[in-house]
Symmetry: C2
Subunit: 682 residues, 2 copies
C-alpha cells in the first residue's frame, strides 16, 4: 500500500503488537517535504515477488535482488560498509569485535544502490542474508562447482561475487511483519524519504557543534571548576563540559542525585560554568539505584531483572517515562543542565558478569528483553527529550544505542571500542540509517595518533574530547596511566600538542555555519549531513567500498588520515575537485601524501564554503563573520540557516533558510546571523 | 520424574517435536552401568524451585544455583573454561573468535561443581545466563552500589563474584522444554551418568589412537602413494593417511566420487596403502554436487537452500540417511576406506559470502535451519557410522560439529582456528560434554611452536598432523608458503625436526595401551578419557580455572607448554604426584621450567602406567610389549582392555577387561594382547 509519495507499507501475516513504529519516540512523517520530492508512482521492484512464511521460530521474508545491487545500512556498523553477500545478525551488543552485524545501534533498515530502502518494522534481533543464499532448484542444477583445489581457508570460503540470490530476512518470534519501502531516483533520495518519514533529521543547537570536553570521572566540584577556568585561560575553544558518574551519590546503578561529598554546591558550579559560556552535560544510565528519589515511583513499572542492583524502568509506558522525564526536568534541567550522556542503554557483550538485563526479561508493557534492548536507546532519548522540551531546551547529547526512527533525535552515538579505522567507518556508515556517530578522542598512543583522532572529528557530528579516564588534559600527557600518575610530557612537547589542539579546534569552530547549514538540510530536506560516497554516487563502482572518506554537507569530501598511514590513493567522485586548503584541482584518481597538520578536504567544483572567524564558544544568536571560500569558475550560491541557533521554538522555520552567493549577497533574513568579511577565490 | 538411578527427566509446557533426544543418533542408555553407580534417591536440588514460563519468543527456565557453585560444559568451548556469571549463547558457528558461547559444537548441557548436570533437550540456539542476573526485588533493595569511581572499562564492568542469581535459560521458539538432571556424589559421577545415559563413550579402534597424517589437498594418486612410501622409509610412525577434497571429481560441493584425473586407480592405491599398514581416511562434506551419483536420490529430501551449489540432505529422514549411508558403504568402505573427515557440518561464521544454509531454511522433516545446524554434525556422524556398521568396520573419524548425545560417536572435533592456548583449552573443556577434540598441527610459526603443538597432542584423543595445505612434510619446512614454494630448511634443521617428530610420535605409540584402556573406561563406565582437573577435584578452588592442564586416563596429569612460555606455576591436586619422566615427587604448588624436548606429565601416587614398545603402526590384534612404570610405595593394579582392538563385534566385551598389578600379573584374558617386558619403579 502506498502511504506517501514513493513510500509503501507492505504487511505480511499477523505482525507483533510491540514494534518500533508504535513506540513513543516515533514522530509524524514530514508529509509536506515528502510530497515535494520527485513523484514516484512505480514500485522500485515487483512487490508480488516478495515471499513470506511464518513458523514457530518466526517470520521469513525473501525480497528479490537484481544483479549488481549493493546493500548498505543496518545502523551503526563499525566493521564493514558494503553488506552484499554477507549475513548480518542485528543483536544489540555493546562491544562487537567481529563483522557479524551485532552493534550498539543496529537498525533493521537497508538501502540498495538500485535506489530504494527497506525498513523492517521489528524490535527483534533479525538476521539479514544479503544475497548470498540461493534456493535449491534441482531442475536448474548445473555442473558448476570447484574443481581446482584450494590450499587456504580464505580461498575455500571466498565469495562468488554477484547477487543471484534474494535478500533473506529472518525475524524471530514474529508471526507477521510490516515493511516500509522507500524509493528514489537514486540512493540519496531514498534515504531522504526515510529521514522525512521519521519526521526529518535532528537540528542540534549551534553550541552542540562546538567543542566538547568530558572531565575526569574522579573529579570533584572544585576540580571540574578549575578545569573550566584552565580551558578558558589557555584559550582552548570549548562549548560543553561533561561530568562523568562521580557527580552522583551512587553510580552503577544511578541515584541521579548529586553527590554531596564531591559536589556540595552543584547550582553554584553550574551557574559559574554558564557565566563562562559553557553548557553542562551530565553522564547517566537508565538503571536506577534504590537510593534514587525516583526508585519507588518506578518500582512497579520496571523489568523483572536488576542491572547493577538497579531497576530498569519500562520507558515505553507513558507513566514511567513521564516520571522519569519530569524528574530530569525539575531536578536537573531547571537548574542549568543542558544535556545528557545516556550510557549503557545498549546491551552487555559477552564478558565475565554480563551486566545488562536478559533478552528473556519481562516488562510490564508486555515487551520482552530482546525488544526492550532494541528500543531502549530511543525510549531513553525520547524520555530525556520530553524533559528538555518541557523546559524549552534544544538539546544535543550522547547515547550508546539507537535503532530505526532515530533521525529526529539530537543524540550522537559512541562506543567503548577504540580502533580508529573502525571509528571512521562508523561515521561513514551512519548516514544510511540517519544516525549520528563521532569518532571521539579518549587518549592516544602517540602524538600522531592524537592529532589524527582530533582531525577525524573535524567534519563529524561532534568534536568530543572524552577525557573521563584522565585527570589532566591530553596535551599534558596522552598516556592514560602516566596522565593519572601526574607524569607529564616535556614542556616543549606539551606546547606543540597544545598548538595542534587549538588549531584543529579553531578550525572546527570556523566550520560551524557550514555544518549548521548541513544539519538544516537534514532537518528540512532529509539529507544526512555525513554520507558515504556511494550514497551520493551509487553508480560509480569504485566508490562502493570506500569506508574511510565521506561527504560532509553538500560540498566537502573528507579523507582523514589515521596514525601510520603514509599516503592514500583513492578515486575521486566524477567531476572536478579542489583542495580545500590550497585550491589545487584534482580529477579521477588521487594520491594524497600524509601531512601531520592537515586533514585532506576536497571541495566540489563550483561550491562556496562559508568559513567563520573562530570563536572560543558559541553564544545565543551570535553573529558570525564569514570568509566565503569560493571554488571553481561558476560558484553556486551556498545554503545557510539563520534561526537563533539555540531555542526550541526557533526549530523548523523555513523563513530563516537562505543562500549566500559568490559576491557575498545574503538572501532573506540571513544577515541577522551572518556578515561577510572576505571573499577568497580558489 | 526419576528415569534411572540418579537421573531425572523434568517436563515444562509443551516441548517441540523436533529435539535432540528424538533423533536417529540417540542410543539406548546403558541402564546396567547406570544402576551400578552409587544409588541416588534424592534430587540434587529442589526441583520445585525451578520456574518456567513461555511466550511467543520461546521458553524461559530459572534453575536455582547455590553460593559457591561453578558451572562448566556447553560443548566445545575454546575461549573459557568456567562459565559462572557469564552469558553463553549457543549458536553453531564455525569460527567464533570471542568468548560468547558460539561454537562448532555447542551443547545445551552443563555440570556444576555441586555434583549435578543438566541437559536441556533443545536444538535451538539457547542462551544460558550462568548466575549473573538477579531478579528485581524492590522490597529487598539495599544500599549497595558503587560509590568509588572507576577509570577503566574493565573496572566498570567487573563481576561482583559469587552466585546469588539463578541459572537462566532462554530457549527460542519452544513453548515447552524437557530437561534431564544427572546427579552424582561428585562432578565426575554426574558426568558419568550423562555419558552412560548416552549409551557409553566411544571406543575407537587401536589404529585410531596411532598417528594420522593428512596429505596435501592438491596431491594426486601418485603423490599420495609416494608420501605413504616416504613416511615408511623415513621410519615415521603413521597409522592413518587422510585424503583431502582433491580425491573427488567435484569438491565444494561434493560429488563423493573419485576424480578420474587425479586418482585414476583408487582401489589399487588403497590396496597398496593397506598392505603398508595404513588406514585410509577421506575428506568430505555433506553438501552434494549435482554431478554426484546420489544427487537425484536426495533432491526431494533436502533443505530448500543450496550450499556451494549443492543440496543439503535431510539426514533426519530415514530414507535420506540410508541412501547416503549405503552409497558410502558400497562405493567407499567396501573398497578399503576406513574412515571419514566430515567437514563444514557446523555453520558459516559471518565472513563475506556466508556459505552455509540459513537458520530459517526448511527441511522436509519439518526441522528448520537452526535445528538442523545444531543436529547436522551428529546426524552426519550417525549416517556414516551406519555405513561403517553395515560393513563391520569400527571406525574413528574427524568431524567439525557435534551436540548433546555425542558420547558414543567415534569422532574427533577440529577447527580452522589455530591459537594454541585455545586449542588446549578446548581439550580441557570437551570432557564435560563427552566430546573429543584434538589440538591438531597444521603448520608452525617456529621450531618451538611445532614441537609444542605436537607435544600437546601426546595425551589427546588423536595425534593429527593435518598437512592439507603443504605439499611437503612439516619437518622439511614449517612455513606454509615456503613449503609450497619448495624452499626447505637447512638439512641439519630438517634432521633435528625429524628427530623431535619421531620421538614424540613414538612416545604416542607407547601410550596406546594406556589410552585404549582409558577409552574402555569411557565405553564401559562413562569416564571421559580427558578431563579438566576440576572434574576430578571439584572442591579444590585453585583448580577451578585451570584451562591448560588435564587428566588423561585415571592417573596422568598433563601440562603441555606452548611456544614462548618459559615456566608454569600451578597447584597440583591434593596428594603426591610423580614426574612421569624422572620419578621426582611433588606436592602442592609446583613451578615447571620449560624444556623443549619434554611434555610435563605427572603421575598420581601409587599408579602403574603400562608403556609399550613403540611400533610404526598398529596391526589387528597385535601383542604389546609393556614396560610397567610404577610410581609410589603401594602401586595399585592398572586397568587394561584386551579385545581385538579393531573389529566391531569385539566392542563392549567385559570379559576382555582386566588389570595388571605391580608385579606384572595380568588378570583374565589380558595376556592375549599384552606381555610384560620390564617393570620400572619410580
Amino acid at each position: 500500500m502506498k502511504i506517501h509519495n514513493g513510500i509503501w507499507k507492505l504487511s505480511f501475516g499477523t505482525p507483533e503488537s510491540i514494534v518500533p513504529s508504535k513506540q513513543r519516540y516515533v514522530k509524524s512523517p514530514d508529509s509536506e517535504a515528502i510530497e515535494k520530492l520527485p513523484s514516484h508512482e512505480q514500485a522500485p521492484f515487483e512487490f508480488n515477488k516478495i515471499r513470506f512464511s511464518a513458523s514457530a521460530r518466526g517470520s521469513r521474508l525473501e525480497i528479490p535482488l537484481a544483479q549488481g545491487e549493493d546493500i548498505y545500512g543496518f545502523g551503526l556498523q563499525l566493521k564493514s560498509i558494503c553488506h552484499t553477500g554477507k549475513k548480518r545478525c542485528l543483536r544489540v551488543n555493546s562491544d562487537p569485535v567481529t563483522d557479524t552485524g551485532d552493534s550498539h545501534a543496529p537498525a533493521p533498515l537497508y538501502f540498495s544502490t538500485a535506489g530504494y530502502g527497506i525498513l523492517v518494522d521489528t524490535a527483534r534481533y533479525a538476521s539479514f542474508y544479503c544475497g548470498g543464499n540461493k534456493a535449491l532448484n534441482p531442475e536448474a542444477a548445473g555442473e558448476s562447482g570447484k574443481t581446482s583445489i584450494a590450499l587456504d581457508e580464505s580461498e575455500l570460503y571466498a565469495g562468488k561475487g554477484g547477487v543471484p540470490a534474494p535478500m533473506l530476512i529472518d525475524i524471530p518470534a514474529a508471526q507477521g511483519i510490516d515493511i516500509y519501502v522507500f524509493s528514489g531516483q537514486n540512493m540519496l533520495e531514498a534515504v531522504r524519504r526515510y529521514v522525512l518519514f521519521c519526521g526529518g533529521g535532528a537540528l542540534p543547537p549551534e553550541w552542540g557543534l562546538g567543542v566538547w570536553y568530558r572531565t575526569c570521572g574522579t573529579h570533584t566540584q572544585k576540580e571540574v571548576t578549575k578545569m573550566a577556568e584552565d580551558l578558558r585561560s589557555a584559550g582552548i575553544p570549548c562549548d560543553v563540559l561533561g561530568l562523568e558518574p562521580g557527580w552522583q551519590s551512587k553510580a552503577y546503578s544511578c541515584s541521579l542525585d548529586w553527590s554531596k561529598e564531591r559536589f556540595p554546591e552543584p547550582e553554584k558550579m553550574t551557574e559559574s560554568m554558564i557565566k563562562q559560556g559553557y553548557h553542562v552535560n551530565l553522564w547517566e544510565h537508565v538503571f536506577i539505584h534504590p537510593s534514587s528519589p525516583i526508585y519507588k515511583d518506578l518500582a512497579d513499572k520496571s523489568g523483572d531483572f536488576e542491572v547493577w542492583n538497579g531497576l530498569v524502568p519500562d520507558l515505553s509506558i507513558k507513566d514511567a517515562a513521564s516520571k522519569f522525564s519530569s524528574y530530569h526536568a525539575k531536578a536537573l534541567l531547571k537548574k542549568g543542565i543542558s544535556s545528557f550522556k545516556l550510557d549503557e542503554c545498549d546491551n552487555s557483550d559477552f564478558i565475565t558478569s554480563p551486566w545488562s538485563f536478559p533478552e528473556c526479561s519481562k516488562f510490564p508493557s508486555g515487551a520482552d528483553g530482546e525488544q526492550m534492548h532494541s528500543m531502549l536507546g530511543l525510549l531513553y532519548q525520547e524520555a530525556i527529550e520530553d524533559a528538555c522540551r518541557s523546559q524549552g531546551i534544544r538539546s544535543y547529547g550522547s547515547v550508546r544505542s539507537s535503532h530505526v526512527f532515530a533521525a529526529p533525535q539530537p543524540y550522537v552515538l559512541y562506543s567503548d571500542l577504540y580502533e580508529h579505522k573502525d571509528f571512521i567507518r562508523g561515521l561513514v556508515n551512519c548516514g544510511f540509517s540517519a544516525m549520528l556517530w563521532t569518532p571521539e578522542l579518549r587518549h592516544a598512543a602517540s602524538k600522531e595518533d592524537y592529532i589524527r583522532r582530533l582531525q577525524a572529528m573535524l567534519l563529524s557530528p561532534q568534536m568530543l574530547l572524552n577525557i573521563w579516564s584522565m585527570p589532566n588534559p591530553p596535551w599534558m600527557q596522552l598516556n592514560k596511566e602516566l596522565n593519572r600518575a601526574g607524569q607529564f610530557l616535556p614542556e616543549d612537547e606539551q606546547k606543540e600538542l597544545l598548538k595542534y589542539t587549538k588549531e584543529i579546534l579553531e578550525l572546527r569552530m570556523s566550520f560551524i555555519p557550514y555544518l549548521y547549514s548541513a544539519f538544516a538540510d537534514y532537518h528540512f530536506d532529509g539529507i544526512p549531513p555525513f554520507r558515504a560516497l556511494v550514497m551520493d554516487y551509487p553508480d560509480v563502482q569504485e566508490l562502493r567500498k570506500i569506508d574511510y572518506a565521506w561527504m560532509a554537507g553538500s560540498s566537502l569530501l573528507v579523507v582523514p588520515f589515521t596514525a601510520g598511514t603514509k599516503e592514500i590513493t583513492m578515486p575521486l567522485p566524477p567531476g572536478l575537485w579542489h583542495d580545500f586548503h590550497t585550491g589545487s584541482r584534482h580529477e579521477g584518481s588521487i594520491t594524497i601524501k600524509s601531512e601531520l597538520d592537515k586533514v585532506p578536504i576536497f571541495v566540489k567544483d563550483n561550491s562556496i564554503i562559508p568559513f567563520a572567524d573562530a570563536s572560543r564558544f558559541v553564544t545565543n544568536g551570535m553573529k558570525y563573520k564569514l570568509t566565503l571560500r569560493t571554488y571553481g569558475k561558476h560558484p553556486e550560491a551556498a545554503r545557510l540557516y539563520a534561526d537563533d541557533g539555540f531555542s526550541l521554538h526557533s526549530g523548523k522555520k523555513p523563513e530563516f533558510r537562505g543562500t549566500v552567493d559568490k559576491d557575498g549577497r545574503l538572501s532573506g533574513k540571513l544577515d541577522r546571523r551572518y556578515e561577510i568579511k572576505e571573499i577568497m577565490k580558489f
